[in-house]
């Protein structure tokens, strides 16, 4: 039996379980030249939120369509010479247990490469969109130099944690902002961050930033936006760089807040750059090879939170917006 979640209605603010509808049907057969994939893991990312609305951020998903997301699956039927039954693949599989696929735009996971310290789930994590976002944010956009101060928000999330470790590897002093003591302890003890701020435990984020970065910040890697971005702008040093990777504080807002401290861009000659990781598609292979090597030698670490059971997908997704999840969130299917 094939099961899938479709968009039942457009979420208002934080998504609710009723915004999604579970449907079922027969397992599809492979089209001519195509394959059938049985999903093993579905990725759950906050960035998917914007496609559920009719806003201008990204083309909206139509009502009744399967929710899109990255995933990993196994080929269970093939009418395509490039794939054999049993091959592991990654790609935009969506919130479905099975799907018929034309076979294009999928990555076949080489079992020799995705082994040991680089498990197959890395294809949609550290070596997929989240990890590549960190890589290009740090290496292509931040102009980070050894000895500079690097600040990252959502620091225990998959993008933030990787960005912080990449900055550390470049010789920066790394400060992370995260939402629990457990996350902060992990950043310091396991990932080697130099300082952390639990934004939920501090009465004044601005004062905490002053204390953690008394000389200011050279690069801010922003995953949050809104007030946190404004506070970071305040502590930026002259010629500082802000990399906008995500704006999780704005995704559910009926009217986004944006920022207030814009004149600082001139007085401090700041540069702020947003980006989508696909801008760098031509360099993905090179980045993946470099990150795999760092995973194998222990320079890069990651944390996965695996939720069991396809039916729990909406709950896992909704949980992203409460900040309760810890690490890369995946749902194991079947």
């Amino acid at each position: 039996m094939m099961k899938r979640f479709v968009l039942a209605r457009r979420p208002d603010g934080v998504p609710k379980a009723d915004d999604f509808r579970l449907e079922s049907g027969a397992i599809p057969r492979a089209p001519d030249g195509g394959i059938v994939i049985a999903t093993t893991h579905v990725s759950v990312d906050p960035g998917m939120r914007s496609r559920l609305s009719g806003d201008s951020y990204a083309a909206a998903l139509a009502l009744g369509e399967a929710i899109e997301s990255a995933g990993i699956g196994r080929v269970i039927e093939s009418r395509n010479a490039k794939f054999n039954e049993g091959d592991l693949v990654s790609g935009a599989l969506g919130w479905t247990t099975h799907l018929a696929h034309p076979g294009k735009g999928l990555l076949k996971l080489d079992p020799a490469f995705y082994a040991g310290a680089v498990p197959p789930t890395c294809a949609i994590g550290m070596l997929g969109v989240p990890g590549l976002t960190s890589w290009f944010g740090v290496h292509a956009l931040s102009d980070l130099k050894p000895g500079e101060v690097f600040l990252v928000s959502s620091a225990a999330g998959p993008v933030g944690a990787t960005a912080g470790q990449l900055a550390k590897a470049k010789g920066a002093r790394v400060i992370g902002i995260a939402g629990s003591d457990a996350k902060c302890a992990w950043l310091i003890d396991e990932l080697g961050f130099d300082a952390v701020i639990n934004y939920r435990a501090t009465p004044d984020l601005g004062l905490s930033l002053n204390a953690a970065a008394p000389e200011g910040v050279d690069v801010y890697f922003d995953n949050v936006g809104a007030e946190m971005l404004d506070q970071a702008i305040r502590v930026m040093r002259p010629h500082g760089r802000i990399v906008i990777s995500g704006q999780v504080a704005e995704y559910n807002a009926a009217s986004p807040r944006g920022i207030r401290h814009v004149p600082d861009f001139i007085s401090k000659r700041l540069t702020m750059r947003g980006f989508v990781v696909l801008d760098y598609a031509a360099q993905f292979r090179e980045a993946q090879a470099a990150m795999a090597a760092m995973l194998r030698d222990g320079t890069l670490k990651f944390r996965e939170q695996v939720v069991e059971g396809f039916e729990n997908l909406p709950a896992a997704f909704i949980g992203l917006f409460s900040g309760d999840n810890f690490g890369r969130c995946l749902v194991r299917v079947g």
Binding site: L229, R260, F265, S267, R269, L270, T271, M272, R273
Partner: protein, 335 residues
């Protein structure tokens, strides 16, 4: 023998919009220049929005003005007396940062000669001075403008904006400028020859007006204003667009940071770059700037307007006028 010079001092730090009482007129007696010194009589001084920032006690890229001391700013004057061994001769025209006063004594530090044959001397405070270089560096280097792109300019008839518009036109770009009166808009279209001008004071919905003016989107936005203009520009920017942030005149007199832009979220899907800059980081471009401007002026591609008040006593009024949009083009005081 002494020379009387009147000057404008900062009486107190302005809160919000500056008022005439924040300034005071004073008179000093200057001695005759000693060896190596010159006495310069200023002919023109400049008033610029950035000076507002120096009236506040805070850390900034230039130190704040001191209370009870004469203000500073760009000026062009003539050497009227020179001591033995001075670097400048009587009759030389020089540019300095010793504005807001009728005359001054200098050992020559920070003074540079200007050529009155190249353009009227006051141009060295405008199109051929810091405002012009600001336009040049901001558009071509910060904005990384490519020939034929679409350019949006706010405060487009101002000292900086008018030069931005015409450099972009010289580079074959589609150019839309925003200004605050029909007269300014007419000048932009007829004299500066930009493609469209928006009178923002008449637009109920600036966002819609900017979108309508850019059916193909904006590649480079030259930001002089902040506020609603910045929001409208971000909404209309193309993927990989650049915003060169030169000034935020709407916000200089605010005592609290104002909301916005709310649409920073758009920087991600559009891969936008927003960069603030200050002209003093681009003095190395002066050679290229004079070369290119000389060519554009000779080809009739570069025009500018000036608004001039007379007398040092009117300098504060000229400065206050900057924030009311009363000036048309470069604001100057003739001394």
């Amino acid at each position: 023998m002494t020379t009387k010079s009147r000057e404008i001092r900062l009486a107190r730090r302005p809160v919000g919009m500056p008022k005439p009482e924040d300034f005071e007129l004073a008179s000093v007696d200057l001695p005759a220049p000693r060896d190596g010194e010159v006495l310069v009589r200023n002919h023109y001084m400049s008033v610029d929005p950035y000076m507002r920032g120096r009236m506040v006690e805070r850390e900034s890229y230039v130190p704040p003005f001191a209370i009870g001391k004469a203000l500073e700013g760009g000026a062009v004057g003539e050497v009227v007396a020179a001591g033995k061994g001075a670097k400048f001769a009587v009759g030389d025209f020089v540019q300095s940062m010793w504005g807001w006063r009728e005359a001054f004594i200098s050992d020559g530090t920070g003074l540079s000669k200007v050529d009155p044959k190249l353009a009227p001397i006051q141009s060295f405070l405008g199109a051929l001075g810091m405002p012009g270089l600001t336009a040049y560096a901001g558009l071509l280097h910060v904005g990384a403008l490519k020939d034929g792109e679409s350019v949006f300019v706010s405060a487009a008839s101002g000292a900086v904006g008018a030069v931005v518009c015409q450099i972009a036109k010289a580079k074959g770009c589609y150019v839309v400028g925003s200004a605050g009166s029909d007269e300014k808009c007419d000048w932009l279209v007829k004299e500066a020859r930009i493609d469209r001008a928006i009178n923002y004071k008449k637009e109920k919905n600036l966002d819609a007006a900017v979108r309508a003016a850019f059916p193909k989107g904006i590649d480079v936005y030259f930001e002089n204003v902040g506020g609603a203009h910045l929001v409208a520009a971000i909404n209309a920017m193309n993927v990989r667009g650049r915003i060169a942030a030169c000034g935020m005149i709407e916000q200089y007199n605010n005592t609290e940071p104002t909301p916005g832009p709310w649409n920073i979220i758009m920087t991600v899907p559009k891969s936008l770059r927003i960069e603030g800059f200050i002209v003093s980081n681009y003095f190395h471009l002066l050679g290229d700037f004079y070369r290119d401007m000389g060519q554009w002026i000779a080809q009739g591609k570069m025009k500018w307007r000036e608004t001039t008040l007379n007398g040092i006593e009117n300098a504060p009024a000229a400065f206050l006028g900057l924030f009311k949009g009363e000036n048309f083009g470069k604001a100057l005081v003739k001394l």
